[in-house]
Symmetry: C2
Subunit: 300 residues, 2 copies
């Protein structure tokens, strides 16, 4: 059996970046000791989720890939432990700022750099203020544990992104995440919706999914946000095989059978039966009929 032992880590983050990395390092070590070859961390773990407010001071926190102490530190860690370690950070590239991910392979090399394609914008999630939409396109990274497709948070809501990465060869999909309460809708809990959408990606693409999400309560100018953790690992049918709670710092680990996945892809036949010539609506301009923002809808 070609097994991929995968882990997800969830922690609370503060302004003390080194302390955040220290806590992660301890948990990554725990994951490695439990056999994990791939350890998925949450989104933007170096700091509180600063997108909770619009504050231009955070622009200065963006760091270029080539001059980044945290990436250098975790490259050494990945090599020492022999684990694949996707690293999420706020990237500066000249005057452009991105929400980025460096895929650190088990030998410490960075084998790919992806920039978040889909940028959200809502109360408490002011990401369009901080990040340009990614210019890399979706990426699949060749690593020691297989081909890892990596999206970042909001990307996880888009079936197109998951499908594209699998068509590009992904053996597994990972999603570093920061999601929790909705400041504009205090009673709204998106946790189950969030999980179901990614379970759907796993099942439809016959590909396991690993999502790592932030925990903790973070105070902003307009109030506080509670990040709901609930990091999980789904197998290639979308079944949750490991799941963390909403509150505590945790490591979850699952053993994913990639041979069974390949056999299921062959026998189930969905990739054989696709009809790309019928999928033009997905790549075309936004149709006028859809009842959603910025779309006039004369039919109703």
């Amino acid at each position: 059996m070609t097994a991929l032992i995968a882990a997800a880590v969830q922690i609370a983050c503060t302004n003390a970046t080194e302390a955040n990395l220290d806590r992660l390092e301890a948990r990554i070590g725990e994951a490695a000791s439990r056999g994990a070859g791939l350890v998925v961390l949450q989104e933007l773990f170096e700091a509180p989720y600063f997108c909770q407010d619009m504050d231009e001071r955070w622009f200065a926190a963006a760091r270029p890939f080539d001059d980044h102490a945290g990436i250098a530190r975790f490259r050494a860690l990945a090599k020492r432990l022999g684990v694949v370690l996707p690293y999420s950070w706020y990237e500066r590239d000249g005057d452009r700022l991105f929400n980025s991910l460096a895929m650190i392979d088990a030998d410490g090399r960075v084998v790919g750099r992806y920039r978040k394609s889909h940028i959200p914008d809502s109360h408490g999630y002011y990401e369009k203020y901080y990040f340009s939409p990614g210019d890399t396109g979706f990426m699949v990274h060749e690593t020691a544990v297989g081909r890892v497709g990596a999206g970042i948070c909001w990307d996880q809501w888009f079936p197109e992104a998951a499908r594209a990465m699998v068509l590009m060869g992904a053996d597994v999909l990972v999603y570093p995440t920061a999601i929790g309460s909705e400041p504009s809708t205090p009673g709204w809990d998106s946790r189950d919706h969030w999980q179901r959408v990614m379970q759907g990606h796993a099942g439809a693409n016959l590909t396991p999914v690993i999502a790592a999400n932030r925990i903790g309560v973070e105070k902003g100018r307009a109030g506080e946000m509670t990040f709901y953790g609930s990091s999980f690992i789904a197998d290639f049918t979308g079944r949750k095989v490991a799941e963390a709670g909403r509150v505590d710092e945790e490591v979850i680990v699952a053993n994913l059978d990639l041979d069974a996945m390949r056999e299921a892809r062959r026998s189930w036949g969905v990739f054989r039966d696709r009809r790309p010539e019928l999928y033009g609506a997905l790549t075309g301009p936004k149709p006028r009929a859809l009842d959603c923002p910025n779309v006039s809808n004369p039919a109703r």
Copy 2:
């Protein structure tokens, strides 16, 4: 509130077509009496699931749209009860045979005819023998209860089909289905996988999904198949709000809030944030890297 009261019906089918329609008619009446304006029936309910075997005698059972007693009967029924009634049948169009669906509106008119785009082929599901791949493309039907996107069975496994129908304006997605045991893999139960994939379509597209599936044990030449029912209705977050059992003839009904759906589409923002220019992998030729049938994979 703009409510859509939707129902799904599941029955066992025999070679006695009129008796199948009689049972359905009684259940459609029950759904209407419970307020349903849309009643989703299973796939190919006129007969046993003949695709369990390859038998050329069934070719003669295919009927043209314009000369079809069952459609005529259910058009009158739909008008009498004031319900939208998608009708699945084996269609002959000259020398071509399709797995088709006529969307009967609540006034008895047929407002659209769709031909199944994705055709499966596995042990006990020999559909490529019986059906040409549909030539209509995906369709959304303007009906009395809203814009209904209709896929047929295997279509339900393809996120592209669901997304395309929603981009074309669908308020709700319906999937007539015939799925059950796998003759080649007796222990395999795909029920939860099947549900999760469609729950994912609902959640990712912020669109309710209604799936109606066959029940019953049907004997074929090579053995028997057990259809697992489990028809269900998911709300626009993918949550199951109604579900039938595996064995019994049943009607399920749910009240779907289309205003809340539209508000969620606006506030959640996934349609605003799509990046169609990045989705070329979905419409391009099958990439060589994917580890699936008929694809060489020099990278491994």
